[in-house]
């Protein structure tokens, strides 16, 4: 009798459809911009800058989109972790000032890594506190969530003023990371290349974690249907706290990279990027890591090309991009299947 099911179930393999189109938009956009930009070397410079920016935005946005997907919590105060991550670098750069100016490239990279590690630890801890104090009391209440996290953002931004002062702080890149690599006529800033490499590395790790480990499976399952994950016997709350901490730490990492990229620290920087991050996660599809990655690259490419072609429209261009993409796919590039 066990074969009954086979006879009536028509034997046809459902087609595996990997949706490549959104991902293909990235190279298509880059190629399409080439004739508009005109010069090839300028195009290379712009594209590398865009990729670097895209990676950083991705790092900062990934935690937010997962947190939203997993628990339906939209943290308007996510920018807090970006700003804090950036400012915390100062605690490292003070004592290690010698490494910054050292001609030894390894010390230069070392100080950058030290900044990253410290920033991630601090913002991870901050994330834990933020989740407990600010977010936990307002689970499931969207309106209050938005208001409270926004309030938390204001308070944190002001605390940065209190601790580190209100005026912008210049930030010097370590000696060996300044300047550009010139290939042919195209100049690529070293630091941007490093940012791209770091971003790809983290994306790769994250991809492995999400697809090859049980925790990753649980996160992906939880984004889709948290209740069912609980009914299978797993504590989604713990998972969520873990993701929140990791997401905050990633935002801290992004903050460090972003601060060195802009070479200035301002308390409002997190809030400013927050806007871009929202656009990215909406474009990508709320809760989707792959969508977040593609969305970040698209936003960065568009912002850099328009920044070159029509500087005044730079931020407007991101919004236009979002509008176009939502007209095409109202739930974002890679919508997450929800119950």
């Amino acid at each position: 009798m066990t074969a009954v099911a086979a006879t009536t179930e028509t034997v046809s393999l459902p087609k595996v459809k990997t949706d490549w189109l959104p991902a293909l938009l990235v190279p298509i956009l880059a190629v399409a911009a080439l004739p508009l930009v005109g010069s090839f070397s300028t195009w290379v410079t712009l594209t590398v800058a865009a990729l670097a920016m895209g990676m950083m935005i991705f790092l900062m946005a990934s935690g937010l989109t997962l947190v939203f997907g997993l628990m339906d919590v939209l943290n308007f105060g996510h920018g807090v972790f970006i700003s804090f991550g950036a400012y915390v670098s100062l605690m490292v750069l003070g004592p290690l000032a010698g490494w910054v100016e050292s001609p030894n490239i390894w010390l230069n990279i070392g100080v950058l890594l030290a900044c990253i590690v410290v920033a991630m630890l601090v913002t991870g801890a901050l994330g834990y506190a933020f989740e407990r104090v600010v977010i936990r009391p307002v689970y499931g209440q969207h309106l209050k969530q938005i208001l409270i996290t926004m309030g938390g953002m204001i308070v944190a931004e002001q605390m940065i003023h209190v601790i580190w002062g209100a005026s912008p702080i210049p930030l010097r890149l370590p000696e060996g990371l300044r300047g550009a690599i010139v290939v042919g006529e195209a100049a690529m800033e070293k630091y941007r290349v490093i940012a791209v490499v770091l971003g790809l590395l983290v994306f790769g790790l994250m991809h492995l974690l999400l697809n090859r480990t049980k925790i990753g499976l649980l996160i992906r399952a939880g984004v889709e249907n948290a209740e069912m994950v609980e009914a299978l016997g797993y504590r989604i709350r713990r998972l969520f706290v873990g993701v929140f901490i990791a997401g905050s730490a990633l935002a801290g990492l992004g903050g460090v990279l972003w601060a060195f990229y802009r070479q200035t620290l301002t308390a409002g920087m997190g809030m400013e990027v927050n806007v871009l991050i929202f656009i990215v996660i909406i474009i990508g599809g709320l809760g989707s890591i792959g969508g977040c990655f593609v969305g970040a690259l698209l936003v960065a490419l568009v912002a850099n090309y328009t920044g070159f072609l029509a500087p005044k429209l730079a931020l407007g261009s991101s919004i236009l991009l979002m509008v176009l993409i939502l007209l095409w796919r109202p739930q974002g590039l890679y919508p997450v299947a929800k119950r």
Binding site: T2, A5, T8, L217, M228, G233, R235
Partner: protein, 241 residues
Amino acid sequence: MKDAILRLDGVHTHIGQYHILHGIDLVVPRGQLTMLLGRNGAGKTTTLRTIMGLWQASKGHVHFDGRDITKLSTPDIAQAGIAYVPENMGIFADLTVRENMILAARNGEIDPKRLKWIFGLFPALEKFWSLAAGTLSGGQKQMLAIARAIVEPRELLLIDEPTKGLAPAIIMNMIQAFRELKSTGATILLVEQNFMAARLLGDSVAVMDDGRVVHRGAMAELAEDTTLQQKLLGLSMDAHQ
């Protein structure tokens, strides 16, 4: 009478401001398949969700295997040995069939012998093993949902309308699979609208109406008594041919 593995005493459940369950008394005997029947909106799904801890009972008690689980959280209830197949199946569409199954196994590994037995029940799953579950047909998804619940032996299975929306031929497959499952001695609480399926599978039956259990007894008795069916379920004479 065998001992009861699950027992609900006077359970009330509120969802928001709505009072859904008005004092449920229900007994699920060990090793039997108990049917939970009733009209739409009678509170069957809410009963299962309350047992599972997905809604909190506002009054009354749920005992499982001699232990009061009323206030336990959903993961704890699952850990205690209850598997749940919700009405919407709760399939993780982005995950593969394999990944869906692995999540249901407590230590992340599936016993090969048991897997073979499951493949025997639902051959489609073997074929689509490494495909995204979202690409499966409705019937295949339902099979996956049930397979996931039995990937390891559990004390009790709660299954919500497994035949809903399925073609008659696939319903027959499903009934066969449940018979096979019963023969292994599994205890099942099955919510069903399809009276034919209920009659073929049920050992005992509870009928709900308006948030209460209005009838309890052997399935065979109810299957014989058409006037009772008419009274409890509003079935017409030709609806259960």
